[in-house]
């Protein structure tokens, strides 16, 4: 099982996402933004960071990278894709997921250990969790306030496509406390919190994030 991890200029959590892949015994494959070749990976992670500085708008420039064309194409064929934080923003900008991210309601960068509820455990990235499980994972971002038109929100809620929801505190003013959503087919997931920082209680608040990477293994094997 090979999990590809994309590096754009300004990507920060690529080594962490690679480490997370290795923790579940997957092979982590580094993918370079300028190289359209996905090098035979079975799943792709678009990691966090500030691609191109996020100077225009989070994810706005990265989505045009050659590698993203290949990701969009592979996703169309059902490859599991996970967008974390800036990766989530990029997937939204690329149209793989609906909605957009705005500046946090508090106007500050927020880094905190965040409780999430697993609202949908049928996606490629959440099948290892119990439905309704509460997990603690770091959240850290400047532009994490998920927003979408009312119609889109209704659709997401109606189809059970909200995968993770903030519990307790909503750290950024996100609509409906949404922390993460999925595509209609459950193969693409984007979330603001960082499961790759919750793979070991030594360096994170818990190892609750590992479930997402294990889920991807299952998704690939059973696909």
């Amino acid at each position: 099982m090979k999990i590809g991890v994309i590096t754009f200029p300004g990507t920060l959590d690529d080594t962490d996402a690679q480490r997370a892949a290795r923790y579940v015994d997957a092979e982590a494959v580094a993918l370079w933004h300028a190289d359209a070749d996905l090098h035979g990976v079975d799943a792709v992670i678009v990691p966090g960071g500030f691609s191109y500085g996020d100077y225009l708008r989070a994810g706005a420039i990265a989505r045009f990278a050659p590698v993203m064309r290949s990701v969009v194409e592979a996703a169309g064929k059902g490859m599991p894709v996970l967008g974390i934080c800036n990766g989530f923003q990029i997937l939204c900008e690329a149209g793989l997921l609906p909605g957009a991210m705005l500046r946090n309601a508090g106007l500050h960068f927020v880094c905190r250990d965040q409780w999430l509820r697993v609202e949908n455990n049928t996606t490629a990235w959440s099948s290892r969790y119990e439905q309704g499980a509460e997990i603690i994972v770091p959240v850290k971002n400047m532009d994490g306030r998920y927003t979408a038109s009312q119609a889109t929100l209704d659709e997401l809620e109606g189809e059970g496509r909200v995968v993770f929801r903030y519990v307790g505190v909503n750290p950024n003013g996100s609509c409906n406390d949404i922390a993460g959503i999925t595509s209609a087919n459950g193969r693409i997931v984007g979330l603001m919190p960082h499961p790759e920082h919750a793979i070991d209680a030594l360096t994170g608040p818990s190892d609750d994030g590992l479930g997402m990477f294990y889920s991807a293994l299952d998704a690939v094997v059973t696909a």
Partner: protein, 761 residues
Amino acid sequence: MTSTQVHIDTVARAEASPDQPQPYRELGLKDDEYQKIREILGRRPTEAELAMYSVMWSEHCSYKSSKVHFRHFKENTTEEMRSKMLAGIGENAGVVDIGDGWAVTFKVESHNHPSYVEPYQGAATGVGGIVRDIMAMGARPLAVLDPLRFGPADAPDTRRVLPGIVAGVGGYGNCLGLPNIGGEVVFDESYAGNPLVNAACVGAMRVEDLHLAHASGTGNKVILFGARTGLDGIGGVSVLASETFSGEEGGTGRKKLPAVQVGDPFTEKVLIECCLELFGERIVVGIQDLGGAGLSCATSELASAGDGGMRVWLERVPLRAEGMTPAEVLSSESQERMCAVVRPEDVPAFMRVCQKWDVIATEIGEVTDGDHLVITWHDEVVVDVPPRTVAHEGPEYHRPIARPADQDALQADVPDSLPRPSTPDELRETILRMIASPNLASRKWVTDQYDRYVRGGTVLAQPSDSGMIRIDEETGRGVALATDCNGRFCKLDPYTGAQLALAEAYRNVAVSGATPLAVSDCLNFGSPEDPAVMWQFEQAIRGIAEGCRELGIPVTGGNVSFYNQTGTTAILPTPVIAVLGVIDDVRRRIPTGIGAEAGETLLLLGETRDEFGGSEWANVVHGHLGGLPPKVDLAREKLLADVLLAGSRDGMVSAAHDLSDGGLAQALVEACLLGETGARVFVDGDPFVQLFSESAGRVLVAVPRTEELRFTDMCTARGLPWSKVGVVDPESESLEIQDVATIGLAELRTAWEGTLPALFD
């Protein structure tokens, strides 16, 4: 020749017009300094040379007022201490060997004055600058810390300055992908017109990859890479360190435009990755960051530290602005630039790596076999100087030193007669008031704006006593870092105060289970032309140097920031000390919060005396500063560190928290809130003294019930005083201090965490 070149001041022109008046005073040079330059060159300097000397001979770059005092460091560094250093004072940053083939480099820098003018960008570029210092050693930057000082928390200007500075530190560091693992936030009236923004960075490399900033090897190429050079920050160094910085216009040496640069963390992130790939290819002979004084500094320092000769074609420098003069190109402080020395045959490989990362790289010069730095601008010589005279042989002053006239009165004004709380109600009230005071309240509002997780190696971060990162994923080897300084103690007695800062940072590292190894400092003081300030400075530096000798850990480098004052009133003397420690396996780190294991016993290590001079209690409750600071006992600090290390090695300690500002009460509240557990505590003797004294050399530890005897026996055997002060009570939702007060955790949390959000949201 184009028309713009007609006005260029060349060496030939300088020789032909020896009497042409030059604006050296406006550039911050004194009459005798200017004369000295003329003597060195045997003629008047060109405009470009003048720009170069003026920035390099500024206080900030030349350390002209402080240099003579550095001998204390030298004289107090034993062979044994020296043996741990791979690079020391004089290099971009100190480097220590931490074992397993790893070298670690760390340094603290100040960016005080720009941060007052433009809080966000001033702080941001402060972080950017220190990170490049670490890169210039060949290391990968791994984490940052930010010791900060502000005026009164409720002053209107603090509301302008603090949020901007915090956002700037975070904005740059977060975007760069460096976890922020510690720092300080301190409020005092003396910083009102002059906040302190110190920034520290730590990085690591394999020992064999250490790079020093030397340009050697005739024929080697000098390559400038990173951002384009623009008109920003010109003359910044001389202005920011100039005696006339005080907010009012019109002084000499002050330009109309304050020198503030805008940082571009994205470009710096790419530059880091590019540099690391270049280091990996082993094609970098020498490297230097461009910080204050820009190319003037980089070229003269590289040449001076190497064989001495260098030739630079200045017109090749990629520019961002039109019509820049050679003097401007040389002194621009545009950020996110580096300068490397590369063998000619490696230049193509160098360029390939830069291209991959979209980093602009330009060959601007080469190493020559002469002993002059020669810079041309379209074939005309604009600089021809012995580089050592620019970079390393600047002026050196023996400033007058005088113990302040009011020092005796200050020390005589002891806090003994200040009314103290005595009834349980008063004590309870005092506890709540103290933990909510700006200097003791939770720093969460600040630190939640910093990414502490990025890179996945952060083992401890705020609010732990020290930050800790894993360096080696295989072995678990890591480092801990803490910065501290209590300026109030330093004001009362700068020698002891500086040693107390050293002791506290040392202790903070030790309570995390790491072994303290080396020291860096950032010495923030008022004007060196004030003999009273120079006395504080000399006392502090001697305190640090002699303290380090006693602790057996070397000072590997540091930074001096003078002219921190509002009008003629200096800031509290603020020698910020950073201590670096090593831990062979981060898995045995000691956390700060208690209650990880059921039934822990709480022990207080060390002795509590009636010491309230400079204490936070005297400050908060009485607005009083006087008397003497607490006694410092470095042998005791060493013993404490040894005991904590043994306790961590043998699994005898499950949590530890050092006692400092606010004393035992503060430590107990923090330990409970961080561990989210209650505790029952008993204090012997005068409860006020027990709870609020700030005696040094004390640590609160939690030990599992099963280890209690073994641990206390060890303390007794080693001669470390200890006393049992309570037990962790996971069932209880409160901190119960027998015969004093029982306060619910929720009430404590509201008091402790509410202050900064109320002030700054």
